[in-house]
Symmetry: C4
């Protein structure tokens, strides 16, 4: 539960054990994992709904291209604050395969959790795209024709994902995961603008955005390079976190060890 580990530790206690007590039994574990998967599903869906829905509204209501992007960026940031606060204590509020994989490297989640998180993130994102389309009286699904390919865009995705992963795990390792909702919201709002790609920084978002041929969409053919650059940025970030915050045990009162399985 790396990024928001401190709060998700409450889960263990909710299942009847005391801190430092025995492992929870297998049935409880399964229930806990189901609950975490539900949180990742709802949170990923909510994030995609915010991104695509506010993009549709911006495109319909505003004429200035910059104003549209500002609306999309501010609303995504505000939505992230709420979503991470709502679901963080349950699942860690990853909503992003790169975060989940990085958390695996840091030992915050088990292989079993990774296997549960990744598919529900993708499924949630797809449902979120459909929900946004339907709310705005569009077809449930329309494949985006918005091609996004250039060296500048790819560099943007690598740097944006690098920054996101350094931020999330830097906060966790410094024992300040409680600030993650505000930090990530501010970061993503800014990254819409300092990058040329509007900072997807999330393979789940890449996939979900193919399902809406609107402002925030991305053509399927542009997705593989985005994912590749995101994984690259995330990998370098994991190394940077190890260098910057070498000894996580020193703040063990704030960072939680894996508490399930």
């Amino acid at each position: 539960m790396g990024p928001l580990a401190k709060r998700s530790a409450n889960f263990g206690r909710q299942r009847g054990q005391r801190p430092h007590g025995r492992q929870v039994s297998r049935p409880s574990f399964t229930q806990g994992l189901a609950r975490q998967a539900l949180a990742e599903f709802l949170g990923s869906g909510g994030l995609v709904t915010v991104v695509i829905g506010s993009g549709i509204a911006a495109e319909r209501l505003s004429h200035d291209a910059g104003l549209r992007l500002l609306e999309n960026a501010l609303i995504t940031g505000a939505g992230l604050v709420a979503l991470i606060l709502a679901f963080g204590p349950v699942s860690g509020a990853h909503f992003n395969p790169v975060i989940t994989l990085a958390d695996r490297v840091f030992g915050g989640v088990t292989n079993r959790q990774v296997a549960a998180y990744l598919p529900v993130q993708l499924a949630g994102g797809a449902v979120g795209a459909v929900a946004a389309n339907l709310m705005f009286d569009l077809d449930a699904v329309s494949i985006s024709t918005h091609h996004r390919s250039s060296g500048g865009l790819w560099l943007s995705e690598a740097l944006a994902t690098f920054g996101l992963v350094v931020l999330v795990f830097g906060l966790a390792r410094a024992g300040r995961a409680a600030l993650a909702p505000f930090a990530v919201g501010a970061y993503i709002t800014a990254a819409y603008w300092w990058s040329s790609s509007t900072s997807f920084a999330n393979p789940m978002i890449d996939a979900a955005r193919t399902l809406s041929d609107t402002f925030a969409g991305i053509a399927p053919a542009s997705v593989p390079m985005f994912v590749l650059m995101q994984l690259l940025g995330g990998t370098v970030a994991v190394a940077a976190v190890h260098v910057l915050y070498p000894d996580v045990a020193a703040v063990a009162d704030d960072v939680v060890v894996p508490h399930l399985g």
Copy 2:
């Protein structure tokens, strides 16, 4: 006092008892309820004033439809931060019948409190609409002719209310109600944009907005379906909170049990 329970617990102490002490006497209880009703009245009025007043200003001052909505959304979010901070410690800062009813299901308020909260919320909202109209030199009341009816709008209201209730009670159950002012402010700002209905998510707001034929108004005929979808979204959300946060007792140091009556 579910959503902001921790702070409203101070009320019990203010009436002369210690935590875990005896029940307060009936006269004190009545005084406390009157104070809570006053807070719900002022807070609901303030919320409606912010929504309608900023809508009138936006319509008068800006030409771009998106900019108008951005102004309305940002100002509503900022206003909510202030209003929940100002009145939360007294009444829990519901300002919304769906929140009050959900709190009743979770055992945070008594039937008597529900009976006091709902009418003062509606009355406060009406006074807030009149105040906004008068500040902008309009007639005290003008019935809105802004019809808002479509499948997309109704889906929006159900989803927006679902998200609001999950957020508010998720925070309370995770022992983080102190963050509610910022979480709810960010959520509503975002929901203006990711939904197609601009996210009323509140039957009190539905009713009050009928009283101003301006930017934020809604025609009375459109209200029933909005209320219905809000109740539907709220009901599903209550179930989701039970699944996501099953054992509230585990965080009993943060979540307050009913302390009056």
Copy 3:
């Protein structure tokens, strides 16, 4: 030191006493009062610089009247967050005669402090107006010709000041003065928009804004009624705070008793 009392209590300790220790000696008291006056001077000046400076920039750079007001409002809110954080621990960060007078009623400041605060607030505000004018290469002083008089404007000023005073002292009485920078910043940003007067809510601001014939200016002839309505709103608010938060002693661990004189 009502509104931000908890932090300003550090001052007493800085002068060599321990909490619950003896009163500070008279020389220390004088030094402390001078320091507080300096903080009120700098903070009031900074607030006026933010309001007038951002107004000039908005008028020069943007064409849409709503966008100008949005810029002015967001920047004033952000500036208030920084100013209250910078000076709150020293003086309580009043920057507003209505707040200082209300704090006197609540017993948070002495008559001697009131006599020091009010003139330095006004002097600071005047210097701030001059600084804004000079930064934008205007004459140091130009008397505003912007008349602001109507029933709607006056109602706005009364309501805006009412809300500000309820918020500030509600936070203090609930033991949450640490949130005042964010609460007041959000409140003022919102009040620019839900009122028709753009919410001056502060006699010091009224006076200082007469000194710049730019976007944020106010003609001297319009000031008296603004001040009157602000005092009216503030007075009703003091009564409301007494009703809403009747027993401040119940949260005595958070609210600080007068610690000087």
Copy 4:
């Protein structure tokens, strides 16, 4: 580590010592300094990328000059929140030679740290400018031709730097450095607007902005006077902090003494 001292104290513990324990050994010190330098490099680079990148995007996407500046200002503020949160616990998150020099005066950093911080800040800023240019498919470096010289601009830089230094060290001396990310983000967003110079307030930023002939650029010939006014404002601010917060030892539980070398 003045400004964010409390958190960087964790570093000492991470190297194997307990609070109040022995000094770390020389090799650990060197490792710590390298880590701090890396944090200052990445943070300064990130800050410049945010400033220049969002400036390029604003210039390309928006027509209204005020909207461009609003985008640039809001995104810089949001970026600062994230950057200070990410790197503050490691290096103190200076990203600004004036802050580092002022911290030296207050005894928060050693001469050796100053000698490491200043060059990596400048190098990071240059790399950040190149990254922004490349992301937007521009030449890696283009010298700015944007001349910025006038009395109003110079006054702006002096006042903006004065305010920044008072804020950062006021927070540290009041034991509230944990709020610095939000305080500094809000401050800089506001200072873009209340000053006529858009508030560079940072010699590292002056230098880096010469490397991009875009919205945020500054011609090299305009830099010396900016630096001079920034140093002047910073110097006066150090004196003001001494007057406003005279006895830092009184809050010694919050403010950290130099912990390395």
